[in-house]
Symmetry: C2
Amino acid sequence: MGRTPPHPDSSQFDLQRVLEALVDPVRRSIVTQLDASGEDVACGGFDLPVSKSTATHHFTVLREAGLIRQYYVGTSRMNALRRAELDDVFPGLLDALVRAGRARPGHDEART
Amino acid sequence: MGRTPPHPDSSQFDLQRVLEALVDPVRRSIVTQLDASGEDVACGGFDLPVSKSTATHHFTVLREAGLIRQYYVGTSRMNALRRAELDDVFPGLLDALVRAGRARPGHDEART
DNA sequence: CCAGAAGTACGATGGCTGTCAAACTTCGAT
DNA sequence: ATCGAAGTTTGACAGCCATCGTACTTCTGG
Protein backbone atom coordinates (compact mmCIF):
# COMPACT_ATOMS: atom_id res chain seq x y z
CA MET A 1 0.00 0.00 0.00
CA GLY A 2 2.83 2.30 0.79
CA ARG A 3 3.41 3.30 -2.77
CA THR A 4 1.92 6.33 -4.41
CA PRO A 5 -1.76 5.90 -5.21
CA PRO A 6 -3.18 6.52 -8.69
CA HIS A 7 -3.49 10.11 -9.85
CA PRO A 8 -5.41 11.24 -12.93
CA ASP A 9 -3.46 12.96 -15.64
CA SER A 10 -4.42 16.57 -16.16
CA SER A 11 -5.79 15.60 -19.55
CA GLN A 12 -8.42 13.59 -17.73
CA PHE A 13 -9.62 16.29 -15.44
CA ASP A 14 -13.38 16.42 -15.42
CA LEU A 15 -15.30 19.51 -14.40
CA GLN A 16 -18.16 17.56 -12.91
CA ARG A 17 -15.80 15.59 -10.74
CA VAL A 18 -13.89 18.65 -9.66
CA LEU A 19 -17.06 20.42 -8.64
CA GLU A 20 -18.33 17.40 -6.77
CA ALA A 21 -15.06 17.42 -4.88
CA LEU A 22 -15.18 21.11 -4.12
CA VAL A 23 -18.79 21.31 -3.07
CA ASP A 24 -18.01 19.66 0.25
CA PRO A 25 -17.04 22.24 2.87
CA VAL A 26 -14.47 19.98 4.48
CA ARG A 27 -12.76 19.30 1.19
CA ARG A 28 -12.90 22.93 0.20
CA SER A 29 -11.31 23.71 3.54
CA ILE A 30 -8.49 21.32 2.74
CA VAL A 31 -7.87 23.01 -0.58
CA THR A 32 -8.04 26.42 1.01
CA GLN A 33 -5.59 25.54 3.75
CA LEU A 34 -3.29 23.98 1.21
CA ASP A 35 -3.43 27.07 -0.94
CA ALA A 36 -2.84 29.36 2.00
CA SER A 37 0.09 27.37 3.32
CA GLY A 38 1.93 27.40 0.03
CA GLU A 39 3.66 24.17 1.02
CA ASP A 40 2.79 20.51 0.96
CA VAL A 41 0.98 19.46 4.10
CA ALA A 42 0.60 16.08 5.80
CA CYS A 43 -2.92 14.75 6.34
CA GLY A 44 -2.54 15.32 10.03
CA GLY A 45 -1.47 18.89 9.49
CA PHE A 46 -4.95 20.07 8.63
CA ASP A 47 -7.52 21.46 10.94
CA LEU A 48 -10.57 19.36 10.16
CA PRO A 49 -13.81 18.79 12.04
CA VAL A 50 -14.08 15.12 11.13
CA SER A 51 -12.66 11.78 12.20
CA LYS A 52 -9.49 10.39 10.71
CA SER A 53 -11.29 7.85 8.59
CA THR A 54 -13.56 10.49 7.17
CA ALA A 55 -10.58 12.68 6.46
CA THR A 56 -8.96 9.85 4.54
CA HIS A 57 -12.09 9.62 2.46
CA HIS A 58 -11.99 13.32 1.64
CA PHE A 59 -8.34 13.20 0.64
CA THR A 60 -9.10 10.32 -1.65
CA VAL A 61 -11.90 12.21 -3.35
CA LEU A 62 -9.67 15.23 -3.85
CA ARG A 63 -6.89 13.11 -5.26
CA GLU A 64 -9.15 11.24 -7.67
CA ALA A 65 -10.58 14.51 -8.92
CA GLY A 66 -7.05 15.69 -9.58
CA LEU A 67 -7.03 18.50 -7.06
CA ILE A 68 -4.19 17.20 -4.96
CA ARG A 69 -1.18 14.99 -5.35
CA GLN A 70 -0.31 12.61 -2.54
CA TYR A 71 2.94 10.93 -1.65
CA TYR A 72 4.40 9.28 1.40
CA VAL A 73 7.17 10.57 3.61
CA GLY A 74 7.78 8.02 6.26
CA THR A 75 4.45 7.30 7.85
CA SER A 76 3.02 10.65 6.84
CA ARG A 77 1.06 11.21 3.70
CA MET A 78 1.83 14.53 2.16
CA ASN A 79 -0.61 16.53 0.10
CA ALA A 80 0.22 18.96 -2.67
CA LEU A 81 -2.18 21.23 -4.46
CA ARG A 82 -2.00 20.65 -8.22
CA ARG A 83 -2.31 24.33 -8.86
CA ALA A 84 -0.47 24.71 -12.15
CA GLU A 85 -2.30 21.86 -13.82
CA LEU A 86 -5.64 23.04 -12.51
CA ASP A 87 -5.04 26.58 -13.67
CA ASP A 88 -4.12 25.18 -17.02
CA VAL A 89 -7.24 23.11 -17.44
CA PHE A 90 -9.73 25.27 -15.56
CA PRO A 91 -8.35 28.80 -15.70
CA GLY A 92 -9.48 31.04 -12.91
CA LEU A 93 -11.58 28.43 -11.18
CA LEU A 94 -9.38 27.77 -8.19
CA ASP A 95 -8.64 31.42 -7.67
CA ALA A 96 -12.29 32.37 -7.85
CA LEU A 97 -13.16 29.75 -5.27
CA VAL A 98 -10.39 30.63 -2.89
CA ARG A 99 -11.25 34.30 -3.16
CA ALA A 100 -14.91 33.59 -2.65
CA GLY A 101 -14.11 31.51 0.40
CA ARG A 102 -12.05 34.29 1.88
CA ALA A 103 -14.61 36.99 1.16
CA ARG A 104 -17.71 35.31 2.50
CA PRO A 105 -17.59 34.12 6.10
CA GLY A 106 -18.98 30.89 4.70
CA HIS A 107 -18.66 27.40 5.97
CA ASP A 108 -15.03 27.21 5.08
CA GLU A 109 -12.10 27.21 7.45
CA ALA A 110 -12.84 24.34 9.86
CA ARG A 111 -12.28 24.38 13.56
CA THR A 112 -10.12 26.84 15.44
CA MET B 1 -49.08 32.09 -7.00
CA GLY B 2 -48.63 34.28 -10.01
CA ARG B 3 -46.56 36.85 -8.20
CA THR B 4 -42.81 36.92 -8.13
CA PRO B 5 -41.30 34.38 -5.75
CA PRO B 6 -38.74 35.32 -3.06
CA HIS B 7 -35.23 36.13 -4.20
CA PRO B 8 -32.21 36.49 -1.92
CA ASP B 9 -30.49 39.83 -1.84
CA SER B 10 -26.96 39.75 -3.18
CA SER B 11 -25.74 40.52 0.32
CA GLN B 12 -27.05 37.13 1.36
CA PHE B 13 -25.34 35.11 -1.31
CA ASP B 14 -23.68 32.10 0.20
CA LEU B 15 -20.82 30.28 -1.50
CA GLN B 16 -21.85 26.91 -0.18
CA ARG B 17 -25.34 27.34 -1.53
CA VAL B 18 -24.10 28.57 -4.88
CA LEU B 19 -21.80 25.61 -5.28
CA GLU B 20 -24.50 23.18 -4.27
CA ALA B 21 -26.64 24.72 -6.97
CA LEU B 22 -23.93 24.58 -9.61
CA VAL B 23 -22.74 21.07 -8.92
CA ASP B 24 -25.78 19.58 -10.58
CA PRO B 25 -25.23 19.12 -14.32
CA VAL B 26 -28.79 20.00 -15.22
CA ARG B 27 -28.65 23.23 -13.25
CA ARG B 28 -25.25 24.08 -14.64
CA SER B 29 -26.68 23.50 -18.08
CA ILE B 30 -29.45 25.98 -17.33
CA VAL B 31 -26.93 28.58 -16.26
CA THR B 32 -24.78 27.90 -19.29
CA GLN B 33 -27.66 28.18 -21.71
CA LEU B 34 -28.79 31.35 -20.02
CA ASP B 35 -25.34 32.82 -20.27
CA ALA B 36 -24.96 31.83 -23.90
CA SER B 37 -28.33 33.20 -24.88
CA GLY B 38 -27.68 36.59 -23.39
CA GLU B 39 -31.42 37.05 -22.94
CA ASP B 40 -33.97 35.99 -20.41
CA VAL B 41 -35.43 32.60 -21.22
CA ALA B 42 -38.71 30.96 -20.28
CA CYS B 43 -38.54 27.67 -18.39
CA GLY B 44 -39.81 25.89 -21.46
CA GLY B 45 -37.13 27.45 -23.58
CA PHE B 46 -34.39 25.27 -22.19
CA ASP B 47 -33.20 21.99 -23.51
CA LEU B 48 -33.32 19.76 -20.46
CA PRO B 49 -33.25 15.99 -20.07
CA VAL B 50 -35.73 15.91 -17.17
CA SER B 51 -39.44 16.10 -16.58
CA LYS B 52 -41.23 19.39 -16.07
CA SER B 53 -41.64 18.89 -12.36
CA THR B 54 -37.96 18.15 -11.96
CA ALA B 55 -37.14 21.21 -14.00
CA THR B 56 -39.27 23.33 -11.70
CA HIS B 57 -37.27 21.98 -8.79
CA HIS B 58 -33.98 22.92 -10.42
CA PHE B 59 -35.14 26.43 -11.21
CA THR B 60 -36.19 26.85 -7.61
CA VAL B 61 -32.80 25.79 -6.35
CA LEU B 62 -31.06 28.19 -8.71
CA ARG B 63 -33.34 31.03 -7.69
CA GLU B 64 -32.89 30.42 -3.96
CA ALA B 65 -29.15 30.36 -4.39
CA GLY B 66 -29.37 33.70 -6.12
CA LEU B 67 -28.18 32.55 -9.50
CA ILE B 68 -31.28 33.46 -11.43
CA ARG B 69 -34.14 35.89 -11.14
CA GLN B 70 -37.61 34.69 -12.07
CA TYR B 71 -40.68 36.61 -13.11
CA TYR B 72 -43.90 35.86 -14.91
CA VAL B 73 -44.92 36.95 -18.35
CA GLY B 74 -48.38 35.64 -18.99
CA THR B 75 -48.26 31.94 -18.25
CA SER B 76 -44.54 31.74 -18.88
CA ARG B 77 -41.96 32.00 -16.18
CA MET B 78 -38.94 33.89 -17.36
CA ASN B 79 -35.44 33.34 -16.05
CA ALA B 80 -32.66 35.89 -15.91
CA LEU B 81 -29.06 35.24 -14.96
CA ARG B 82 -28.03 37.53 -12.09
CA ARG B 83 -24.66 38.05 -13.66
CA ALA B 84 -23.72 41.49 -12.37
CA GLU B 85 -24.55 40.65 -8.77
CA LEU B 86 -22.78 37.34 -8.96
CA ASP B 87 -19.69 38.88 -10.47
CA ASP B 88 -19.78 41.44 -7.72
CA VAL B 89 -19.97 38.94 -4.88
CA PHE B 90 -17.98 36.07 -6.40
CA PRO B 91 -15.66 37.65 -8.94
CA GLY B 92 -14.58 35.36 -11.71
CA LEU B 93 -16.53 32.38 -10.49
CA LEU B 94 -19.25 32.33 -13.11
CA ASP B 95 -16.82 33.03 -15.92
CA ALA B 96 -14.47 30.30 -14.81
CA LEU B 97 -17.31 27.81 -14.69
CA VAL B 98 -18.76 28.75 -18.04
CA ARG B 99 -15.33 28.62 -19.63
CA ALA B 100 -14.61 25.29 -18.01
CA GLY B 101 -17.91 23.95 -19.25
CA ARG B 102 -17.12 25.04 -22.79
CA ALA B 103 -13.57 23.71 -22.77
CA ARG B 104 -14.22 20.24 -21.44
CA PRO B 105 -16.72 18.09 -23.32
CA GLY B 106 -18.17 17.44 -19.90
CA HIS B 107 -21.68 16.61 -18.87
CA ASP B 108 -22.92 20.07 -19.63
CA GLU B 109 -25.13 21.12 -22.50
CA ALA B 110 -28.05 18.74 -22.32
CA ARG B 111 -29.73 17.28 -25.37
CA THR B 112 -28.98 18.19 -28.92
C1' DC C 1 11.90 -5.62 19.61
C1' DC C 2 8.02 -2.80 21.08
C1' DA C 3 5.16 1.16 21.58
C1' DG C 4 3.11 4.58 19.44
C1' DA C 5 2.07 7.59 15.65
C1' DA C 6 -0.12 8.12 11.04
C1' DG C 7 -3.22 6.49 8.02
C1' DT C 8 -6.14 2.96 5.59
C1' DA C 9 -9.84 -0.46 5.03
C1' DC C 10 -14.31 -1.94 6.03
C1' DG C 11 -18.90 -2.15 7.03
C1' DA C 12 -22.97 0.23 8.69
C1' DT C 13 -25.94 3.99 8.95
C1' DG C 14 -28.58 8.20 8.26
C1' DG C 15 -29.88 11.93 5.71
C1' DC C 16 -30.25 14.37 1.80
C1' DT C 17 -31.68 15.09 -3.06
C1' DG C 18 -32.73 14.19 -7.85
C1' DT C 19 -36.30 11.91 -10.11
C1' DC C 20 -40.99 11.02 -11.59
C1' DA C 21 -46.20 10.84 -12.18
C1' DA C 22 -50.49 12.72 -11.24
C1' DA C 23 -53.48 16.26 -9.93
C1' DC C 24 -54.02 21.11 -9.81
C1' DT C 25 -53.74 26.25 -11.05
C1' DT C 26 -53.43 30.16 -14.27
C1' DC C 27 -53.44 32.54 -18.11
C1' DG C 28 -54.40 33.26 -23.12
C1' DA C 29 -57.11 32.25 -27.26
C1' DT C 30 -60.68 30.76 -29.63
C1' DA D 1 -66.81 29.44 -21.22
C1' DT D 2 -63.57 26.25 -22.84
C1' DC D 3 -59.53 24.17 -24.18
C1' DG D 4 -54.80 23.94 -24.10
C1' DA D 5 -50.26 25.51 -22.83
C1' DA D 6 -47.07 26.38 -19.05
C1' DG D 7 -45.73 25.52 -14.59
C1' DT D 8 -46.43 24.14 -9.70
C1' DT D 9 -47.41 21.08 -5.90
C1' DT D 10 -47.40 16.97 -3.54
C1' DG D 11 -45.95 12.56 -2.26
C1' DA D 12 -43.16 8.62 -3.03
C1' DC D 13 -39.00 6.45 -4.01
C1' DA D 14 -34.14 5.31 -4.94
C1' DG D 15 -29.51 6.05 -4.72
C1' DC D 16 -25.76 8.25 -3.17
C1' DC D 17 -22.40 9.95 0.17
C1' DA D 18 -20.59 12.00 4.50
C1' DT D 19 -19.92 10.18 8.78
C1' DC D 20 -18.28 7.12 12.37
C1' DG D 21 -15.95 3.25 15.08
C1' DT D 22 -13.12 -0.52 14.98
C1' DA D 23 -9.64 -3.28 13.34
C1' DC D 24 -5.56 -3.39 10.63
C1' DT D 25 -0.97 -1.95 8.47
C1' DT D 26 3.45 0.45 8.44
C1' DC D 27 6.87 3.07 9.63
C1' DT D 28 9.87 5.45 13.38
C1' DG D 29 12.14 6.04 17.73
C1' DG D 30 13.76 4.31 21.78
